[in-house]
């Protein structure tokens, strides 16, 4: 099947303006600004069933329809912070299919009547930011961005903005704070960005991949998009596959494809390294609840969509699937994730700031071989104590692998603690 988001894998040099244009590029945007009402664009996206690709899977069209039309101006922000360990799809999209992303961003801006859009990129993407600036300039030159686009009354400027190396700035309200030049720390929600966003103005924030789907939906229709995927999760998803697989990388599959297809498909992961057995899966990067596999076929045959993954006691999230095989002990895994979250906790709220620090102390003991059984119990208890009490989702994320790791792989911990 032809790719929808990773179309550059079918069409060489798609990141060149002319190639993109020749392959139907910008037709959706042109059509929208010339012939469609902004709300009609939103309606198509709503009908397509597109859900946000940043992790939470919130229905995209619905989010756009929440924009507060009593308060102006409006802003659109692309979340290109891509910092979840195991997630590397947005980068490929922006590098290889930048115009499709930019066209999607422009379509959203038109749909919510924003005249300014920002792309917030993680600091390490500085070369990519320069590259996108060139692409934006090309679109401006062609009259697709800037003042009075294509002779209409609609104007749009797109700016890139670099973060400074904080995972938390992927969280939408921390991102907005950072974009405003403040400390990147989450705001209390509600109010949500569509009513109170950048500079307190109504703002739509979506993930890069979310935007990259939009031109194809507008070009081919909502029904076409819905024909792919499942009823709950329509369309296609770019899965970032990593861990102990033979071919790590990004793979675009329709929602509902199974873990097995992703991990073992010849064109996809091509199986586990050294033909070992899959022990556990982290479907949403470091922020995952661990799925117990232990070679269980039924688990590997679970369709990857939001609802089905939930039945396994986990979340699909950003679909960054990390494969853990039977050579890996789970105490090693959570030592890594805790270290990451302790390092990235923004420090704004007590349970996460103190909890990640405390968990790190305990897991160091356990993983370093100095732990006792009581330490494992304490670690589990501290992680649970954090759950549901933090200001933003990072705190909860940090507890997921810990709680599920200890509860679901108790034996791994029994092995490392002193009796």
């Amino acid at each position: 099947m032809a790719h929808v988001v990773l179309r550059h894998r079918d069409i060489p040099n798609l990141n060149q303006f002319d190639v993109y244009k020749k392959n139907g590029g910008f037709s959706a945007f042109k059509n929208a600004v010339k012939k469609m009402q902004p709300t009609e664009v939103t309606d198509v996206v709503k009908n397509s069933g597109l859900r946000g690709r940043g992790g939470a899977g919130f229905p995209t069209g619905m989010k756009w329809s929440f924009i507060d039309n009593k308060n102006w101006p409006h802003y659109v922000v692309a979340n290109a912070d891509e910092s979840e360990p195991g997630t590397f799809k947005d980068r490929e999209i922006m590098e290889s299919n930048p115009f499709q992303f930019l066209e999607g961003l422009a379509l959203c801006s038109y749909a919510v009547a924003a005249n300014v859009a920002y792309i917030y990129l993680r600091g390490e993407f500085w070369q990519l930011a320069a590259f996108l600036d060139e692409k934006i300039a090309e679109m401006e030159e062609a009259g697709l961005l800037g003042n009075k686009i294509l002779g209409t009354d609609y104007s749009l400027k797109i700016y890139t903005h670099l973060g400074a190396g904080a995972y938390i700035c992927g969280e939408e309200t921390a991102l907005l704070e950072s974009l405003e030049g403040k400390r990147g720390q989450p705001r209390v929600r509600p109010p949500f960005p569509p009513t109170f966003g950048l500079y307190g103005k109504p703002t739509i924030i979506n993930n890069v991949e979310t935007f990259a789907n939009v031109p194809m939906i507008l070009a081919n229709g909502a029904d076409w998009y819905k024909s792919m995927g499942t009823a709950d999760s329509s369309g296609v998803k770019v899965f970032s596959l990593s861990g102990r697989v033979r071919r790590p990388g990004n793979y675009e599959l329709p929602f509902g494809a199974t873990f097995r297809e992703l991990i073992y498909g010849e064109k996809n992961g091509a199986g586990v390294q050294d033909a070992r057995q899959v022990k556990a899966l982290m479907p949403a990067g470091a922020s995952s609840s661990l799925i117990v596999v232990n070679g269980d076929d039924k688990i590997l045959d679970t369709p990857m969509d939001y609802a089905s993954v939930r039945t396994l006691g986990s979340e699909l999230g950003s679909a960054s699937v990390i494969v853990i095989d039977d050579t890996v002990s789970i105490d090693w895994v959570i030592n890594k994730t805790i270290h990451f979250f302790k390092h990235e906790s923004c420090g704004k709220c007590t349970p996460c700031r103190e909890g990640t620090y405390w968990m790190q102390n305990i897991v160091h003991r356990i993983h370093g071989g100095d732990g006792k059984q009581g330490d494992v119990d304490l670690l589990l208890n501290v992680a649970k104590q954090m759950q549901g009490k933090c200001l933003c989702a990072l705190g909860d994320f940090s507890a997921m692998a810990v709680v599920t790791g200890i509860e679901r792989f108790k034996g791994d911990f029994d092995k490392v603690v002193k009796v």
């Binding site: 904080a166 938390i168 400390r183 209390v188 302790k342 390092h343 990235e344 906790s345 923004c346 420090g347 704004k348 709220c349 007590t350 349970p351 700031r353 103190e354 909890g355 990640t356 620090y357 405390w358 102390n361 304490l378 501290v382 104590q385 549901g388 009490k389 933090c390 200001l391």
Partner: protein, 818 residues
């Protein structure tokens, strides 16, 4: 009143104003939800997660939007997660559980998390005993630590953010109250967080450190002992302290204070003041103080305090220690001899009772009652000043506040705060000043004029145009005028113009309307109400006279006055500290400071407020009103002086604006919102509570229906200046070399050198550069100063700070030489 909603908290049905935060509504209903980051004076942030509660909302049918009923009552749907009661607002029908098992577990977990990093050095912590963390640990904490003690983080414990404020990094719980106070309330964003996660720490990023005159307030609202003042730290335990109500004596705002005192071996077993804390008065200072008010109290215990009456007699001016009887007798005899040559020179350092007796004495013997001040126009504030019902704290949209010729941040810091906040609530703020001031940022209109042109600017307020519209159409209008660049005559003229503008537009005689003077001292307004007036040419008024000086140091302040007093016939000085004037006086009478006695001050907003004795009298000092009465006795004139209360009673019978006031009325209190403190002490600081009086406004002439008489505005006495001349103008500084500030070692460091400011071009014209030590001369005065280049000063002008050794009374043509 705003709309009320009904909700249930812990089974108790309560009503609360729409939009109130759940935590505040609960507090009003007597339910204390534990908090750390929440502070009723700050915007909600929901970051400490202490106030977690269960919140249930009436369920609505998705299709119809109707509330779903169950057994005759709305069906309540609880959220799966605990929520913060400091960020959620009350709604009709909410059900809140603050004590459920789940809520308790949430609160307990936050305390436990906080304590993992907390040093728990309560035994050596200044906050111990009045610490919200300590209290909430007692209420919600676990008795056992699950955190391994050896794994505790160790951080710096004595980080000076400035010479006034110290930070203990270990104790900080990252609640950001201090930062938010500086950003939101003070408007001085000089501290912030650095780093992230567990490395998050408070830093100051200003030069000098923590550069804000409100910094002390952060130590009150810090919920732990992380921020302490250099003045109080390690000074005493809170439970050893007594509290006595007082009023700040440092400026006309009249902030309500609590003096925390303790008997101390170090002080020879005497009771001493350990710290000055804000006392809540929502109509005056809310719960804030400026650093000058907080730290300047040390003058009361200065080594230079006068303790015994003295006389100087004979050709050799022999100093004699004499009895009170002898000293007052000598004074009285000389006053009697003076006949019409009698001058009483008093300052607003004195209480209403003192000034009343002094004025009575002057009147009785045909003397002149002169106010020691550089600002004129107070007779107008008595007529069209603000009166009953006025509260800057409620002004917002529909009100216009004009600030003219004053840098409020330096001259009356808490008014600066209140005016800034009024502007933020939507009041129209018009700032008129020859140079930029901190208030400009919040102004709707900034009007720059050349020194000497202030009246023209004020006249714009009653003309058609932007300023006129904003002023004339305003529902309420207040003009706050000062003395930037002005002497007595100039400021009197300015006051006239302001009073005229207010009167013409009917912004007089009602609450939240009228004129306010930014006086030099705490009770200058009281002095004006008694009938004291400053002299245009004070030196001339003193020459050859018999002078009774109370609360002023003319000899030390101004060589011209020193000279005038040299030729005075007889000088009696009654004061608290030794100074240059007490060095030349014929009779020196030691007076009590306001912390040793009872009395009242009248603030610039014309609010009469009581202060109470807090410490023992120093030496043989007596209250000013009593000293005057004792002198009068030797002049065969009987005045009341048994206690301040009696003097006040007579005063209130005599003076119309004071009619009906009694000490009892002045000490009335009522419930103030927001609720701060109470036994639980969640908001930090033990002494906010006001149990000793909120004070009462004087009535204004206009309120009593008297005809307002405004003299014609005179032209100011600006000297003729040529293009090549340098015009020296007086400006006021918060920290100057006043006797009360210099005695406070900590503040002394902030006074700095005597500097004169001018812009670059002017400096170049006079051949001087930044930092140059120059000789400045004007108007027969000369002295040394350092040059400061300041581009906000207009060309050809040199700013000369008052009270810094260069005696500038009014604008003058000046010279500078290297």
């Amino acid at each position: 009143m705003s709309k009320q909603v009904t909700l249930t908290i812990d089974g108790k049905q309560i009503t609360a104003p729409e939009g109130a935060l759940i935590v505040d509504a609960a507090k009003m209903a007597g339910i204390d939800i534990p908090v750390f980051c929440h502070h009723p004076k700050l915007e909600p942030v929901g970051m400490c997660r202490m106030c977690l509660v269960e919140i249930g909302r009436p369920m609505r049918d998705r299709a119809t939007g109707q509330i779903v009923m169950e057994n005759g009552a709305p069906k309540i749907q609880f959220m799966p997660k605990l929520e913060t009661s400091c960020t959620n607002r009350v709604e009709e029908g909410l059900v809140v559980l603050t004590q459920s098992e789940k809520a308790n577990a949430g609160q307990k977990s936050t305390v436990e998390f906080l304590l993992t990093s907390h040093p728990l050095d309560c035994p050596v912590c200044d906050k111990g005993g009045e610490c919200p963390l300590q209290n909430l640990t007692m209420a919600h904490g676990s008795s056992q630590s699950r955190f391994i003690y050896d794994e505790k983080l160790h951080l710096e414990k004595q980080v000076p953010l400035s010479e006034l404020i110290y930070l203990d990094r270990e104790r900080c719980i990252q609640c950001a109250r201090c930062i938010r106070f500086q950003d939101e309330v003070a408007g001085d964003s000089v501290i912030g967080f650095d780093e992230r996660g567990r490395s998050t720490q408070i830093v100051s990023f200003s030069e000098p450190g923590f550069d804000s005159v409100f910094s002390g307030n952060t130590t009150d609202i810090c919920p732990v002992g992380a921020l302490t003042t250099a003045d109080f730290r390690f000074g005493a335990r809170p439970w050893e302290l007594d509290a006595q109500a007082s009023v700040c004596s440092q400026c006309p705002v009249g902030c309500n204070t609590t003096l925390n005192t303790r008997r101390e071996a170090k002080a020879g077993g005497n009771i001493v003041i350990k710290r000055v804390m804000p006392r809540q008065n929502e109509e005056v200072n809310e719960i804030w103080l400026c650093d000058k008010g907080r730290f300047a109290y040390h003058y009361t215990e200065s080594k230079k305090r006068l303790t015994k009456p003295l006389t100087r007699t004979g050709k050799d001016r022999k100093v004699n220690r004499v009895s009170w009887e002898a000293a007052t007798k000598l004074a009285g005899e000389n006053f009697l001899k003076a006949k019409k040559n009698f001058v009483v020179l008093a300052s607003g350092r004195l209480a209403n009772e003192d000034l009343f007796n002094l004025k009575t004495l002057a009147d009785q013997f045909g003397g002149k009652a002169v106010l020691y001040s550089h600002i004129g126009g107070g007779e107008l504030t008595a007529q069209v000043g603000v009166s009953a019902g006025t509260n800057l704290g409620v002004l917002g949209s529909g009100s216009t506040i004009v600030v003219v010729a004053s840098n409020l941040y330096e001259e009356a810091p808490i008014w600066y705060l209140r005016v800034k906040q009024a502007a933020e609530r939507g009041a129209t703020l018009i700032v008129m000043n020859p140079r930029e001031t901190k208030l400009d940022k919040y102004a709707s209109f900034v009007e720059r004029y050349d020194y000497g042109q202030e009246i023209k600017s004020v006249q714009e307020l009653t003309k058609k145009g932007k300023l006129g519209d904003a002023f004339m159409k305003a529902q309420n209008a207040i003009i706050i005028y000062g003395s930037e660049g002005l002497g007595v005559a100039g400021s009197a003229s300015l006051a006239t113009a302001c009073a005229k503008a207010l009167n013409e537009t009917e912004h007089v005689g009602k609450a939240n309307n009228g004129l306010i003077g930014v006086w030099e001292r705490a009770n200058d307004q009281g002095a004006w109400e008694m009938g004291f007036k400053p002299e245009d040419d004070l030196a001339a008024a003193l020459k050859g006279k018999v002078v009774y000086i109370a609360g002023a140091d003319p000899v030390g302040d101004d060589p011209k006055l020193a000279k005038a007093l040299e030729s005075a016939d007889f000088v009696v000085v009654q004061d608290i500290l030794e100074n240059a004037t007490t060095e030349i006086a014929d009779v020196v009478l030691p007076a009590q400071t306001h912390v040793e006695r009872e009395g009242t001050f009248t603030s610039g907003e014309r609010r009469v407020q009581r202060f109470y004795p807090a410490v023992a009298v120093v030496g043989d000092a007596r209250a000013d009103y009593a000293i005057t009465a004792q002198i009068a006795k030797h002049m065969n004139f009987i005045m009341q002086s048994a206690n301040a209360n009696i003097v006040f009673e007579i005063l209130a019978e005599t003076l119309k604006p004071f009619e009906g006031l009694t000490y009892e009325k002045l000490s009335n209190v009522r419930v103030q919102l927001p609720m701060i403190g109470r036994g639980d002490m969640y908001y930090g600081g033990t002494t906010y509570e006001n149990t000793h009086g909120l004070g009462v406004h004087l009535s204004a002439g206009a309120t009593r229906g008297e005809t307002v008489r405004i003299p014609r505005a005179q032209k100011e006495a600006l000297p003729k200046v040529k293009d090549t001349d340098l015009l020296a103008v007086p400006v006021s500084k918060l920290y100057h070399r006043g006797a009360t500030i210099e005695s406070a070692q900590l503040l002394n460091q902030r006074i700095g050198k005597t500097t004169v400011s001018m812009n670059f071009d002017t400096a170049e014209q006079w051949g001087v550069v930044e930092g140059a030590q120059v000789k400045v001369s004007f108007d027969g005065v000369s002295g040394e100063a350092k040059v400061k280049i300041d581009e906000t000063v207009s060309a050809g002008v040199m700013l000369v700070p008052r009270g810094m050794g260069l005696a500038i009374r009014e604008p003058a043509v000046a010279k500078v030489k290297l």
